[in-house]
């Protein structure tokens, strides 16, 4: 029997959860509702003339090649960020897990980048790779490689992927390391006695046992790539050059706050919202059940 503390007080529980509910309403439900509401309106730039247009904003979006281009960039970007972010951090976690001496120092260093805000990370890497004064760009030029993310779209995309991955690795690393340390040592020993070498032990025992962590991180990373990277893009490329790094969330900002197309921007937000809801549902419904032991 589960033991439970019960309160006879009727109002106290509500009072206790009130701050959280207030925050959720003020910062989640209210803006979401506003976005949905805006997405069916057509408004002029100064808010003087507002018209209800049903789903015209959405229809317009789905006819817009620029939107598909941005979606495509986002797909490539998030695939790279999640893929690289997960594999590099897994590699680091596996190596950190094997270290006996000075393990705490390594772990502390690996966690540092997480303390750097994405926008700051963007500025930081932007400075290092700056074609005029950046030390990395300068070094690359010495080796005969012209790196100019201000002009070259591909290089710009590579750079925001790099900066975004760099910011996210610490987070993934922590989860992977915790996952690795929760695998009983005797399992690895049993596999070693069964004849499995280090590689095989990793792929047949450790990797499958890490998969719940992996799937969780996959969803978190995809969501991060979709939304959390706004600061990186804003700090580095602002979507340029020639919209080569304009991921969906940045396009929302560009169209809404620069282009003053509030309705279209809100419609894009609603689509993004739907994608996140879908991802979360997938996470809870299918993946968690499938990989749970």
């Amino acid at each position: 029997m589960e033991k439970r503390v019960t309160f006879n007080e009727k109002t106290l529980p509500y009072l206790l959860v009130l701050p959280q509910i207030a925050i959720t309403i003020a910062f989640f439900f209210w803006p979401s509702w506003q976005a949905i509401y805006q997405s069916v309106l057509l408004e002029d730039a100064f808010g003087g003339n507002t018209r209800f247009v049903w789903f015209d904003n959405f229809a317009h979006l789905f006819r817009d090649p620029a939107y598909y281009r941005s979606a495509m960039i986002t797909a490539v970007f998030s695939l790279l960020v999640a893929g690289l972010g997960l594999s590099i951090s897994l590699l680091l976690a596996v190596m950190a897990d094997r270290i006996v001496r000075g393990a705490t120092a390594y772990k502390a260093f690996l966690v540092w980048p997480y303390a750097v805000a994405p926008a700051v990370a963007g500025v930081l890497w932007g400075f290092l790779f700056n074609p005029a004064v950046g030390i990395v760009a300068w070094t690359l030029r010495i080796f005969g490689y012209e790196f100019n993310y201000v002009l070259n779209g591909g290089q710009a995309l590579a750079l925001i992927v790099f900066a975004a991955v760099w910011s996210q690795i610490s987070y993934n690393f922590l989860f992977f390391l915790a996952g690795l340390q929760s695998i009983p040592k005797s399992l690895i020993e049993a596999a070693a006695i069964d004849g499995a070498g280090p590689g095989r032990r990793f792929w047949t025992i450790i990797f499958p046992l890490l998969s719940p962590t992996g799937f969780f991180l996959l969803v978190v990373n995809v969501i991060y790539a979709f939304f959390g990277t706004f600061g990186v893009v804003d700090g580095l490329t602002k979507g340029g050059p020639a919209k080569a790094t304009e991921i969906l969330v940045f396009k929302v900002y560009n169209d809404g706050f620069r282009g003053q197309d509030l309705g279209g921007s809100a419609a894009q937000s609603v689509i993004l919202m739907a994608i996140v809801i879908l991802l979360t549902v997938v996470q809870f419904r299918f993946i968690e059940r499938k990989v749970h032991y």
Partner: protein, 352 residues
Amino acid sequence: MATVSLRGVRKSYGGTVEVIQGIDMEITDGEFIVIVGPSGCGKSTLLRMVAGLEKITGGEIAIDARVVNELEPKDRDIAMVFQNYALYPHMSVYDNMAYGLKIRGVSKGEIDERVKRAAKTLEIEPFLERKPRQLSGGQRQRVAMGRAIVREPKAFLFDEPLSNLDAKLRVQMRVEIKKLQRQLGVTSIYVTHDQVEAMTMGDRLIVMNKGVAEQIGTPIDVYAQPASLFVAAFIGSPSMNFLETRIGADGSLALDGASLKPKTRIDPGRAVTIGIRPEHLSVGSGFDLKVELVELLGADTLVYGRLSDGKGLVVRLPGTEVPKIGDRLPVKAHDGAWHLFDSETGKRLGAA
């Protein structure tokens, strides 16, 4: 099936703390060896050194005359059963058992045959498709055994495999493991802290204390002629009674008015500890015991009392004899049942 030789095996951490201080033993083909001792005595470390999970810092371990010091666990051709079973949680029972065979490149048909045969022996056929988490403790234990036997290794290593089971199941599995080992005839090394397991299962025991093998011998040797105070106290339940005394001028021992004559000559004046097992005392004229506590176990009665000089003594009587607390109980020792140990070194000196 193989012989296992331990020659001056040592283990130290950082060169300072020596946890295994030189163990020598020849294990013959098909023998069941039990390493027994209190926690922290180094018994698991010794087993893990045989398995290849711990580095050997001194001496040699040879399996079938081949020195394995530098070999990886997988190249030693041994199988191990862990205390927590260490079953792969994401694999079915079948896959758990087949894992080692797949790695070794055994053909699918043969894997199937061997797994099925082992499952039949261990009566786990109905669970082959289940995951370990869907099994009870006893069933997991069997799967862990199955994973060891399908490999048909040269030796089985058991690291306290029964300590996670409840008392009843432990007795049952104890018998089954022993039977299985007899039937397969595979050389086995079994680590336990439970002296009953040690006595009932082992062909020979290694009684370990603080990294030293205090005694190596058959269960009956260890019981009847414990080589040291430690072994005498560790083996047998309830534990042996010990009394501190001194050898008299005539070479005999004075004990609560009675006199004991050691079978071997011991220098007069030497401080000795004499021991006697509770089951080697019975009612009869000898000493007077003041009864302080009586435990009824059904088949036996344990009587805790004091001699006239205040020394405590435990006596095991048949269940039919129940003395009253506060009574004086006359007790006598069986002939030749006294053990003599050097009080300083703890080594056995002889009997009396």
